[in-house]
């Protein structure tokens, strides 16, 4: 027994030694890059005209995604990462937070030991601090040398600049074209069984839901809004009540929580459009026409309901994810079943072309930041830039060149080969989603559409079909509303947090607990009073100012 113990102790000492000798390499893998890297003049202190980095030059760096709910998977476990690692010697070591992102990043900051690239919300307060403290590299000197980002993003790039005028953020999903999948998905079988009624206005929707409840009481959920705590379907329904800037999905979001009137941002709770939508939605709740578990169920539970065809109408920020998968499975058993999408629901009397269930920004929501301690910032930027260009995007969405695509046509779109297999392509895209560090929708959306338009409607990918016919036409550009948050530890920041708390409670309350329209008014009146007490109008003032600054900046680009 003692020998066993001794053996183990020896073993652990060896391990301890092992770990330590590796730690020299583990922390800064960039330094283990073979000497070839320095041949390309990787030192950022040297003049850039010493040679450019291009794909194929060895590159390795560390990367970290600052989220509690997701991390980058092992680079080589994704198709794109594997290909790049094996064929082009691009190796990225992922640092993971495993659910403890705040603690992980705080630790790294406190010891000044940051990963080479941090991928975080582009307005994240801690990143702003890092920029202030000089811990982040500016990209300005690289923009012309590696021009993909500049070319494809155009002047919108300027909206990403920080207070000092420099660019520190490499956006993740930028585009001049609308993108997004928000809208209404309808269960085909149920729809036909109920006589395929007109589904265009909120009254139509209401009547339809009543019909569903009467016929299928309990077995089918009339209206499924996904997870209401994330807004989702309820946010989509809200947009049915206002045209254009009168009602947008984003107005409910914590970074806005206001309704623009003229050039001012005004209170959400006194807004008549919001109130009307609240009365409508609360009626649906009262009459059990909407999933009663909307505020508690998990993602898995929602997915289950959709996959099993137990919802009649499904709305959310991207109901298409589950619906597309469900549709594929359902038509295998019954070709007549499945889901389809409809043009956005609107209140009677509103212009159907001015209703937008979803929103997008031209700047994406995340950004890649290169830390000042990176050994090879220029090369990293060069890689990010390649990644965002047509070649990189093709790799992510279609796979490596030579397989499903080969070369580019006269429009700069990929030439698809005869071997093109939509299922395999969809799978590739899905498998690469976790490492889609940046996406260039201005390029990739038309590229995807190029294939789809070559193919008859029945063979078109379900998602692509509805994206091109409905959703991409009905998402609204809300770029002007970015960056409206005050610093978190300021007084305004504290007001914002209190308001967020209040709003969540009020929202759930007014939707699920109102007993009548008067009740809705009462709850929202009190909400307004409480919000004012917290300092809502000060926050609105601050946000109005920042919003107008954005508007000016955007207008000056035109």
């Amino acid at each position: 027994m003692l020998y066993l113990v001794a053996a183990i102790l020896v073993l652990s000492t060896v391990l301890a030694g092992c770990g330590k000798s590796n730690s020299g390499n583990g922390n800064t893998p960039a330094t283990t890059a073979p000497p070839a890297a320095t041949d390309n003049g990787a030192e950022s202190t040297e003049a850039p005209d010493d040679g450019k980095w291009s794909l194929g030059d060895p590159l390795s760096f560390t990367m970290y995604s600052h989220y509690n709910g997701s991390d980058f998977p092992v680079w080589e476990s994704t198709p794109a990462g594997k290909w790049l690692s094996e064929n082009k010697d691009v190796k990225i070591k992922m640092i993971t937070a495993n659910g403890a992102a705040d603690q992980k990043l705080a630790s790294m900051i406190s010891s000044d030991d940051l990963p080479d690239v941090i991928w975080a919300d582009k307005n994240h307060p801690i990143m702003e601090k890092l920029i202030q403290e000089g811990k982040v590299i500016a990209y300005d000197e690289y923009l012309d040398k590696y021009p993909n980002l500049k070319t494809w993003m155009g002047d919108n790039l300027n909206m990403l600049r920080s207070e000092d005028g420099k660019l520190y953020k490499f956006p993740n999903w930028y585009s001049g074209n609308p993108s997004g999948n928000a809208g209404y998905v309808i269960n085909k079988k149920i729809y036909e069984e109920l006589g395929s009624p007109k589904l265009e206005t909120t009254d139509d929707l209401y009547n339809y839901l009543v019909q569903v409840k009467e016929k299928y009481d309990g077995k089918i959920i009339p209206f499924e809004p996904h997870r209401a705590v994330d807004s989702q379907g309820l946010g989509v329904l809200y947009t049915a009540f206002g045209e254009g800037m009168d009602a947008q999905y984003t107005f409910l979001h914590q970074s806005v929580r206001a309704v623009p009137k003229g050039d001012k941002l005004t209170s959400l709770y006194t807004d008549p459009v919001f109130r009307e939508s609240a009365k409508y939605i609360s009626k649906l709740f009262r009459e059990k026409l909407i999933d009663q578990d909307a505020f508690t169920h998990t993602q898995d539970m929602v997915k289950e309901k959709v996959l099993n065809g137990r919802v009649a109408v499904f709305a959310g920020a991207s109901p298409t994810d589950y619906a597309a998968e469900a549709h594929r499975e359902m038509i295998k058993n019954d070709p007549n079943s499945g889901y389809f999408m409809i043009w956005p629901i609107r209140k009677e009397g509103l212009d159907k072309n001015k209703i937008y269930p979803g929103t997008y920004t031209t700047l994406g929501w995340n950004a890649s930041y290169i830390s000042a301690s990176a050994e090879n910032p220029e090369e990293i930027f060069a890689f990010l830039d390649w990644f965002t260009g047509p070649e990189g995007q093709n790799l992510i969405f279609f796979g490596p060149e030579g397989q499903y695509w080969d070369g580019f046509d006269e429009n700069g779109m990929p030439n698809f080969t005869d071997a093109y297999d939509q299922d395999a392509v969809t799978k590739t895209e899905l498998d690469n989603v976790p490492i889609t560090i940046n996406g260039n929708t201005g390029y990739i959306n038309p590229a995807k559409m190029k294939y789809q338009t070559q193919v008859p409607v029945e063979e078109q990918d379900w998602l692509s079909r509805y994206q091109s016919s409905i959703t991409w036409k009905t998402q609204f550009d809300v770029t002007q509303f970015i960056n409206l948050d005050p610093p978190t530890d300021s007084d305004l920041g504290i007001i914002k947090t209190k308001l967020d708390d209040l709003h969540l409670k009020v929202y759930a309350d007014v939707m699920t607990n109102s007993k009548s329209d008067e009740d809705v008014d009462k709850i929202l009146d009190k909400a307004e009073a409480d919000a004012q007490k917290i300092g809502y109008d000060k926050l609105l003032e601050f946000r109005t100012q920042k919003w107008q600054e954005n508007v000016k900046l955007i207008n000056s680009q035109k």
């Binding site: 505020f295 508690t296 969540l504 409670k505 699920t512």
Partner: protein, 325 residues
């Protein structure tokens, strides 16, 4: 029995000071071997617990993580963060929830494993006993994510088993949205907690009971005492010291009412008023916003209260002869 050198010096007469001092040192020297048992531990704790102890000061500053260990670079703000906390509108709600949830978990969750251990001890069928022991300790290993997922499913209005059961029994007409109603939250939380930890927490008591001298039971049998009686007159009194020690420790953590379980079960914002406790508040307001000092101040507040409770509990326990010191 231990007295510092200073005390010794005061109580001794000048002519005896030298021999007394030698006596202390020589006493110390004579017990070098047990001191040697203790000092590595003292040193380890010094390094890993006391060296970082300057962190308690973070709550009194506007700490920026960029300063790392150089905390003197941060501005001193005294009790500002504590005041902010006490003046926060949610303060009373948070404290009430924390204490209520903690007390409920204690009142139900502390005796439960003890009863389980006692019950298991009464089981004569060895196989059954071992199987039950092993099975009841499984839930401890299931993460809260999974347990909360189960609970959400069970309690949902759409095909949730509990609602279906209640409707079948005729107890209700319409499904109850349990996880949206504040009045049910504490029950759901405490029940799931007790269920999850009861088996694991009973282990220590099982170990204690295993050490009871069997002869006592045999003697009681001969005296005609029923098993039921024996539990109360032999089993419980014998493990009382263990129970009391654990109770003292539990009372010291009264302000730790839970975190992951609450976060995962109180998804509906309507539950916020009954579910928000110190840990969830700090997570939401403090850490997520990098208000590190604020979070640290609240943590310090909790520690101080914890120590006070601990001392108080220990004082009470000392009357029974079992105490930490």
């Amino acid at each position: 029995m231990s007295q510092t050198t200073a005390e010794k010096a005061h109580t001794s007469l000048p002519e005896h000071r030298v021999p007394r001092k030698k006596s202390f040192l020589s006493r110390l020297a004579r017990q070098w071997d047990i001191q040697l048992m203790v000092w590595p531990g003292i040193l380890l704790i010094f390094v890993f617990a006391y060296l970082p102890m300057y962190g308690v000061l973070i709550g009194f500053m506007d700490y920026s993580i960029f300063t790392g260990a150089r905390i003197w670079e941060n501005p001193w703000v005294g009790f500002k963060h504590f005041q902010d906390f006490f003046n926060a509108p949610e303060f009373l709600t948070i404290m009430r929830n924390t204490l209520a949830i903690s007390l409920l978990k204690f009142i139900i969750g502390f005796p439960a494993p003890i009863f389980l251990a006692i019950m298991l001890n009464e089981v004569r069928h060895m196989m059954f006993k071992r199987v039950v022991q092993t099975i009841t300790y499984l839930p401890y290993f299931i993460s809260w994510v999974i347990v909360a997922g189960f609970a959400t499913s069970l309690l949902s209005t759409d095909n949730g088993s509990i609602n279906i059961l209640l409707e079948k029994l005729g107890a209700i007409d319409e499904p109850i949205n349990f996880l949206s109603r504040p009045e049910y939250f504490w029950s759901i939380l405490v029940t799931s907690n007790v269920w999850k930890d009861i088996g694991f927490n009973s282990i220590i008591f099982l170990a204690a009971i295993a050490g009871i001298d069997q002869h006592m039971y045999e003697a009681a049998d001969i005296d005609g005492a029923s098993k039921f009686r024996q539990v109360f007159s032999i089993t419980i009194p014998t493990i009382m010291p263990v129970i009391i020690i654990f109770m003292i420790l539990a009372i010291g953590s009264l302000l730790s009412a839970g975190f992951e379980d609450i976060l995962l079960l109180a998804v509906n914002p309507l539950l916020r008023d009954v579910s928000d406790v110190i840990d969830t508040y700090v997570y939401r307001i403090g850490l997520a916003n990098f208000r590190y000092s604020y979070a640290a101040a609240i943590g310090l507040f909790r520690s101080v209260v914890g120590v006070i409770l601990l001392v108080f509990a220990n004082y009470l326990a000392r009357r029974t002869g079992n105490s930490l010191w």
